[in-house]
């Protein structure tokens, strides 16, 4: 699994390097954007298939939804509280 992570991150760094070399070419950037959207669509489509054929997930969809909601509330509240202190201490104009 560690090798997978290193591969994934190296591929991203390679992409950043090539992107920096290519530079500001609006046409290329547009094509990259479209391809990015399509690969996201493909991956989510595949995830959908994975879920559709996975009985364990299908039988627990309601509890999965509630867990997701609870995690979101935790993440957002935590971020809001930290950002509140950062705002009061460093950003608010006196």
């Amino acid at each position: 699994m560690l090798t997978d992570i290193i591969i994934v991150l190296s591929i991203m760094v390679l992409g950043i390097g090539i992107g920096l070399l290519i530079g500001n070419r609006p046409k290329t950037i547009k094509i990259i954007g479209v391809l990015t959207s399509f690969s996201i669509f493909l991956l989510l489509f595949l995830l959908g298939i994975g879920v559709g054929t996975n009985k364990q997930i299908l039988n627990n969809l309601d509890s999965i939804g509630i867990q997701a909601l609870i995690l979101t509330i935790g993440a957002v509240l935590g971020s809001l509280i930290c950002a509140y202190f950062t705002y009061i201490l460093f950003f608010k104009k006196k």
Binding site: M1, L2, D4, I5, I7, V8, L9, I11, L14, G15, I16, G17, I18, G19, I22, N24, I29, I32, L35, T36, S39, I40, L42, L43, L44, F45, L46, L47, G48, I49, G50, V51, T53, N54, Q56, I57, N60, I64, G65, Q67, A68, L69, I70, L71, T72, I73, G74, A75, V76, G78, S79, L80, I81, C82, A83, Y84, F85, Y87, F91, K92
Partner: protein
């Protein structure tokens, strides 16, 4: 918002095809999604590299601006860790992996699916989509009670694009650059932090 609906549409289409088994078995059993992930990561990298605007924003900002994405990271991870106590079948590490999506639902769900499980991938997808929707709906309220960084904090990685308009509307134009900066930093960190967290699960 339109983007989320399209992505959910593809997910649901896959779901229906999976349910009805209306697919050749090679597609159902073959695991080529890791290669699609490689392609996506390469494209995400190229997107970051070619985006001169982002690099310019990063070079120009005041040092204290780094505290904003840092607050989002610390707050999200502490927040999900706290609520994970309520969830019997989700460990603290798994909760942190979901929280480290920072609203970037497409990439976080895909990475978690590959490196952990389909179940946690779906939770990450839903949780981070809810984060974006909640930000779009509740930013006026958040700003009122938690200060002008609230929309940026709630939006996480989406503060640079989908939730930027609502943030600027309620926090003011002077917060636009902070929102974009925070969104960029978090977007870059999603594929770095999630695998690191999952390594320890």
């Amino acid at each position: 918002m339109k983007g989320s609906l399209i992505i959910l549409g593809f997910f649901i289409l896959g779901l229906i095809l999976g349910l009805t088994r209306f697919l050749p078995s090679s597609l159902l059993e073959g695991d080529f999604s890791i290669y699609a992930l490689y392609l996506l990561m390469f494209l995400v990298g190229m997107g970051i590299g070619t985006d001169r605007g982002s690099w310019k924003v990063i070079r120009e900002v005041n040092i204290k601006i780094i505290l904003v994405p840092l607050s989002v990271i610390v707050g999200s991870l502490l927040g999900v860790s706290a609520v994970s106590a309520l969830l019997s079948n989700i460990g603290i590490g798994e909760a942190m992996a979901v929280g480290a999506g920072f609203g970037y639902y497409s990439l976080s769900s895909v990475i978690i699916t590959e490196f952990h499980s389909d179940t946690l991938g779906v939770i990450a997808l839903l949780s981070n989509i809810i984060r974006e929707i909640l930000t779009l709906l509740a930013t006026p309220l958040f700003v009122k009670y938690f200060g002008k960084l609230a929309g940026i904090a709630s939006g996480g990685a989406t503060a640079m694009d989908t939730t930027l308009p609502i943030i600027v509307r309620y926090s003011g134009k002077e917060y636009a650059i902070i929102a974009v900066f925070s969104g960029i930093v978090l977007t870059i960190l999603v594929p770095v932090i999630i695998p690191i967290i999952l390594k320890f699960v």
